[in-house]
């Protein structure tokens, strides 16, 4: 495209081995997509109820909260960080939303929740950027403290909500014969917006840069601290959306909910091919990762597999999915 042929020093390969296919196979998401499709095919064979619109709608709905939180996790992992507190922030968000929404009305409640979530995300970001603390420690500390604070704040109670605005993301609607909820739409929107921001804006480039090579990013004049801080702040916003979606899904704020959210979101991110060392990956992979986990749980239940065996199977299948991904990429790449 840019260089003149006389001095092209890297020689284009003789197109003997179809390079189109090898390029597709090399795409970062090819492996995980294949794993997802394979899982869908296998479960369709195992259970006739699996491949129905209603069941698909179910899988999507079950993925909403973790799926949304996993976007925040992706952003933070892209900067070579990790967020152990994101689930705890969202849970506190549900409590704040349920209580304040009941007392001050839904809109003020939503704003208040946004404020709390963003404040906590920003606190993480400030500790990471200003004090240069490892994100693992910062968010672990935040996790421990927030979980305890949530329980103190909530007492031992749970808080049911009924306001239609607060449960709006649980409301279902039809597209043709496919029933789904606004929560699913919200999740897809979050993926779309963050995906756009990561690939189409300067902010996205900076997020990749600070994760990929922090020293080089700094030397290149990227405002590293600003990029990193912004990511934790955005994570707070996303946690608030997840909290709202959680009340849509279960209209009862419970301080004990979503204790595994950290591990589940990180799993979705890693299955989706984003590197824990930062700088490589993206949200589309995370969406696929989230769906793989959702499909496994739903499919195994439909196939009549008990919980303990399900766990064993899930453990093995997750490893297998990532192995398939690696295998296909390596075969064509090196």
């Amino acid at each position: 495209m840019t260089t003149t042929p006389t001095q092209a020093s890297s020689v284009p390969s003789k197109k003997g081995t179809a390079p189109g296919i090898s390029r597709i196979v090399q795409m970062p998401l090819f492996g995980s997509t294949v794993a997802l499709i394979l899982a869908i095919i296998v479960f369709s064979i195992l259970s006739p109820r699996f491949l129905t619109p209603a069941n698909f709608s179910l899988i999507l709905q079950q993925s909403v909260v973790i799926g949304i939180l996993a976007v925040a996790q992706t952003l933070i992992i892209l900067t070579a960080g990790i967020d152990l507190s994101i689930g705890a922030i969202a849970v506190l968000g549900t409590i704040v939303l349920a209580i304040s929404g009941g007392e001050t009305g839904a809109i003020v409640g939503l704003l208040l929740t946004l404020l709390v979530c963003v404040a906590l995300g920003s606190l993480n970001g400030a500790l990471v950027t200003l004090l240069k603390l490892p994100p693992f420690i910062v968010t672990l500390g935040a996790f421990t403290a927030i979980v305890a604070a949530t329980r103190l704040f909530a007492g031992s109670q749970t808080f049911p909500v009924s306001d239609p605005v607060l449960t709006f993301l649980g409301t279902s609607f039809k597209i043709g014969s496919f029933v789904t909820t606004y929560g699913v739409v919200a999740m897809l929107l979050v993926y779309l917006v963050v995906g756009y921001a990561l690939t189409q804006t300067a902010w996205g480039k900076h997020v990749y840069a600070v994760g990929g090579n922090p020293v080089a990013a700094r030397l290149s004049g990227v405002k590293s601290d600003r990029a990193i801080f912004s990511v934790y702040l955005v994570a707070g916003v996303i946690a608030m959306i997840a909290a709202w979606a959680a009340l849509g899904r279960i209209p009862n704020a419970d301080p004990n909910a979503y204790q595994n959210a950290n591990l589940e979101t990180i799993t979705a991110v890693v299955i989706g091919g984003t590197s824990l060392f930062g700088g490589r990956g993206g949200v589309l992979g995370t969406l696929i990762g989230t769906l793989i986990v959702g499909v496994l749980r739903n499919g195994l239940t439909l196939a009549g597999v008990d919980n303990l065996y399900q766990n064993i199977a899930t453990g093995i299948l997750v490893v297998a999915a990532v192995a398939a991904d690696q295998f296909m990429r390596r075969k064509s790449a090196r």
């Binding site: 259970s47 109820r49 209603a54 069941n55 179910l58 709905q61 079950q62 909260v65 329980r151 909530a154 007492g155 031992s156 109670q157 749970t158 049911p160 649980g170 959680a246 899904r249 279960i250 209209p251 009862n252 419970d254 301080p255 004990n256 909910a257 979503y258 204790q259 595994n260 749980r297 739903n298 239940t301 439909l302 009549g304 597999v305 008990d306 919980n307 303990l308 399900q310 766990n311």
Partner: protein, 323 residues
């Protein structure tokens, strides 16, 4: 024991008549809080046996941790999608999953609660459970009676903060002791998640802080065992009265050995088998179980009975224990 409760229904040949709308095999879902607690493991095993005797298929699911509402809701949804006729559930929080339960019932699935009631109680078709508050009262009354005139100095090894059952037992115990939540006689509380290791560490630290303690509340028997290990290491076996709840065979054994003073036995096998029978009956001809709270009972087990408090000894306990 088991046979006694299941015999009546096993006479019928299962699932052949068009009941619950279809001629398919009867499928029953069981959703416990976790798959780790021996109590729920026993419940699962009993349900499995009861289902087999009734020619039904049981799919056992659970949340990932105490409080995993999302996991339980997903389990309900997936079971309904799978086409079960009935679901037995030990709800994590008494009100957290009502919407999902309602959806299941709207689709004609019978839902019964085991071990923990929902709030309101009529959110499910029936409840088979221990009255945990009463069990807590029994533990508290026994500890108080055992202390006699000594002024109580209580430490408490709680379960998970916010858990419905945990709260009932805790409150019941204090009621039985005749104490208020913030009474000065309560010298300390620690959360143990019902885990023996955590309980031991918690008790060690509590004893450093309150060496004068003379009464110990425990959420369950592993917590009691952990607490006892710490007490023994501190050489205070004779100073502290330990009460507990559960009635597992290990627990009863511990009562016998003097590790625990008294425990309150519950009957998970009863809950499971009664739940399975209710669903099988519903699947066959649409009869619903008696609505509301069906107390499966509890029994104080101790070798040191106190006046005015009915109890059984450990020999009876060993015959009737679970796990």
């Amino acid at each position: 024991l088991l046979l006694g409760t299941t015999a009546c229904s096993s006479g019928d040949s299962s699932g052949d008549e068009g009941s619950g709308g279809s001629g398919e095999d009867i499928k029953i879902g069981l959703i416990t809080k976790t798959d780790s607690n021996p109590f729920f493991v026993k419940m699962r095993e009993s349900a499995q046996e009861a289902a087999e005797e009734n020619g039904a298929e049981l799919i056992a699911l659970s949340g990932a941790f105490d409080g995993d509402n999302e996991g339980q809701v997903a389990a309900i949804e997936n079971l309904v999608s799978q086409g079960v006729q009935g679901i037995m559930i030990t709800p994590n929080s008494s009100s957290g999953i009502l919407a999902a339960i309602k959806q299941a019932r709207d689709q004609g699935v019978l839902v019964v609660a085991l071990d923990t009631a929902t709030d309101p109680e009529d959110a499910v078709d029936a409840t088979f459970a221990t009255d945990n508050f009463a069990a807590g009262v029994a533990q508290g009354s026994w500890v108080k009676a055992s202390l006699g005139d000594t002024e109580p100095k209580v430490v408490m090894l709680d379960g998970t903060p916010g858990g419905t059952v945990d709260t009932f037992r805790h409150d019941g115990f204090l009621e039985g002791m005749g104490l208020k939540e913030d009474a000065p006689e309560v010298l300390g509380m620690e959360n143990t998640n019902g885990d023996q290791t955590k309980a031991q560490t918690a008790m060690e630290n509590l004893l450093q802080r309150a060496p004068e303690a003379n009464a110990l509340y425990t959420i369950n028997e592993p917590a009691a065992a952990g607490g006892f290990a710490a007490i023994k290491a501190a050489g205070k076996e004779d100073q502290i009265v330990i009460g507990s709840i559960d009635g597992s065979c290990t627990g009863v054994e511990n009562v016998k050995n003097g590790v625990i003073g008294a425990t309150v036995m519950q009957f998970p096998t009863k809950m499971a088998s009664q739940g399975v029978e209710a669903i099988v009956a519903y699947a066959k001809d649409g009869t619903k179980p008696k609505a509301g709270f069906n107390d499966t009972g509890s029994e104080l087990i101790t070798d040191k009975p106190v006046e005015g408090l009915p109890s059984k000894d450990t020999t009876w306990g060993a015959e009737n224990c679970w796990g």
